[in-house]
């Protein structure tokens, strides 16, 4: 068939690039994950051993892996709803007819998204400093007890969640605003004539109409939040007492700090499987609510 040959011809460049820069590294990482590639193997390839699934097995037996997974899940379970609430709230406020200076606020709320995470994290680290930080200074001034934000294992993760939500909510806010603007105004008009309260309007019009947007945004956010790395890397280096070590941070330490690339690849694949399962479950759940 000529058309199909032409089609193949057209997508070949893209396929080659994808294969070379995406598929090949993934396959290489999969191969690495069943070996014990490390410093010694780097020095002399004869020191490389095929270990089958031992890297995976060893990881599943490591308390640190489970605690890192726990921290990551904690980050996702608390962070994603918070992030969505903040984004939706900000989008509704900006979308409201009462709002003034919309372009200014839109830009201001979106600004943290486009600034580099490292630069902002350094500033927040100062704000959160136990002794000299502005946040504790303010708490102290109004007579509230101060908190050791980044030094206390119980508070470090909530602090990072707060930071990440602040940093990322603007991105979803923009998407939500587009979704809100797409809802026909006559629906609200009809509801108002029927005497629906603001809450009822939100529940029965806004939320259902936003459902597809909501689904996409939550899947993107969940998969993004599972890959938590930069925040703990810059703010706490996984501490205190490894309370902010995420799965990806563990992978980074295994691979780039200690050069155990076999073990690091295994971490990456386990994380991939988990994320795949979670997003698949989310898609399924969302389909259940729809009429078949």
């Amino acid at each position: 068939m000529n058309t199909s040959r032409a089609a193949w011809l057209f997508i070949t460049p893209a396929l080659i690039i994808l294969g070379l820069f995406f598929l090949l590294p993934v396959v290489a990482a999969l191969v690495l994950s069943v070996t014990d590639y490390d410093l010694y193997a780097l020095a002399d390839i004869r020191n490389l051993r095929f270990v089958a699934l031992q890297n995976y097995w060893a990881l599943l037996q490591r308390p640190l892996f489970w605690s890192a997974l726990g921290h990551t899940v904690y980050f996702v379970v608390v962070g994603v709803p918070l992030s969505l609430l903040a984004s939706l709230g900000a989008a509704m406020l900006l979308n409201s007819p009462l709002a003034r200076f919309k372009p200014f606020f839109r830009t201001a709320l979106f600004a943290p998204v486009v600034t580099t995470v490292v630069a902002v994290a350094v500033i927040w680290r100062y704000l959160f400093n136990t002794k000299y930080g502005l946040i504790n200074y303010t708490l102290d001034a109004i007579g509230m007890p101060t908190v050791d934000w980044l030094g206390d294992p119980h508070w470090a993760m909530p602090t990072i969640i707060l930071f990440a939500v602040w940093k990322n909510f603007g991105y979803n806010m923009i998407i939500f605003m587009a979704g809100l603007q797409a809802i026909p105004a006559d629906l609200y008009e009809a509801a108002r004539i029927d005497g629906a309260s603001a809450w009822a309007q939100f529940r029965h019009i806004t939320l259902p109409m936003l459902k597809p947007t909501m689904l996409m945004v939550s899947i993107l956010t969940v998969s993004g939040y599972f890959q938590l790395f930069a925040e703990p890397y810059v703010m706490t280096e996984g501490g205190p007492l490894q309370s902010t070590t995420s799965v990806l941070y563990l992978m980074y330490e295994e691979g780039f700090k200690w050069w155990n690339l076999g073990s690091a690849s295994a971490v990456a694949f386990i994380l991939f499987v988990i994320m795949f399962a979670v997003t698949a479950a989310m898609l399924r759940l969302s389909k259940r609510g729809e009429p078949a």
């Binding site: 014990d36 490390d38 410093l39 010694y40 780097l42 020095a43 002399d44 004869r46 020191n47 051993r49 995470v117 400093n129 136990t130 002794k131 000299y132 050791d148 980044l150 030094g151 990440a164 990322n168 991105y171 993004g224 939040y225 890959q227 938590l228 790395f229 930069a230 925040e231 706490t236 501490g239 205190p240 007492l241 490894q242 990806l248 980074y252 780039f256 700090k257 200690w258 050069w259 990456a268």
Partner: protein, 428 residues
Amino acid sequence: MIRATRLGFVAALALAGVALSSCAKEESGTRTLQLWTIGREGEAVQQLLPEFEHEHPGLHVEVQQLPLTAAHQKLLTAYAGDSTPDITQLGNTWIPEMVALGALEPLDARVKASKVVDPADYFPAIWSTNVIDGTLYGVPWYVDTRLLFYRKDLLAKAGYDHPPRDWAEWQAMMAKLAQPRGKAYGVLLPTNEFEQLLSLALQQPDPLLRDNGRYGNFQSPGFKKALAFYVSLFKDDQAPMMTNVGVGNPWAAFGQGFYAFYLSGPWNIGEFRKRLPPEQQGDWATTPLPGPDGPGASNAGGSSLVIYRASKHKDDAWALIEFLSRPAIQERFYQILGDMPPRRSSWTAPALRDDDKAAAFRDQLERVKATPPVAEWERIVTEMQLVAAQAAHGDLTIDQAAAEIDRRADRLLEKRRWMLDHGHKATP
């Protein structure tokens, strides 16, 4: 968003930086030496190099400064990508790792023939960190050991006219100084730094690894004694449960009397001189680390200069090492930066001899001990500190913690055992 691609990007950037530096154009007739430094040493060495280049016309030294946090990773990446420099500064605990890679040039013959580098003049334990399985791979550049900075005035107020001589006396002092409880402390031991516990552990007769570095030896009576002492300081509120991030500004806290002792290294002499007000300069001093019963050992830290096997200018590289090893140059290096020289003859220079704060270090350097020369050491000691911090928190007993450190050390040493058992040389 927080993407893994970032990592790849960062790695690529690091490689690109390395690659860029290696494609630097060589002018005709001049040879370029690549010297990598870690941390602040790069700035100081820049001031010394014009003299070296003046002595060796046709030789140009290009300095690359690596930040401390990224140095280890960059050195490994450079090796993996075949883009190592000619010479690099290397923390002496990293030497075994680089030797395991077979990346370093043996230096015995060059030292034998050298008129400048005299092994007998160096502090023996510091020299020994550069010798792996009987072969020399580096020349010590500066030394670093941990001892006590303390507040003389606070100690005098508590009724002591001398620094502590052993653990018992030190602990008695801290008990008096850590008042009111929870507001003031005896000593600062940041829970995320392993050097403090390591120093206490090195004071014990038991080695930290056994059977030629095949297994951990953390359940030895000696290590348990050190760990118990370390943990007791937190239990009795004599040391604050803080990481160095939590402390924020340790110098100001020391000046305010938040703690009276600080177990730290020589760079803090300069920091305290800079950061404490003039009227407080007479209130602080340094003293060798007290041991379980009398003056104790401490860690043999510091940096060495090594030549990479892949270097094409080994003779020029050696000339630079000799230049930086001259006592007169080391003295200037000390004046610029405060890095302490590894040679006894450099210490006769007035700047060091007459410095009362440096004298304690001179004394301590005769009593330092090297850590086990295995490639996995950095990782083992990191795990040691993580478990020790849990013990300090009270989550583990001393016995449980010691057993857990051994378990983790044995796991990390598994590959080394396999290499040794199968006749692969763990250190070529």
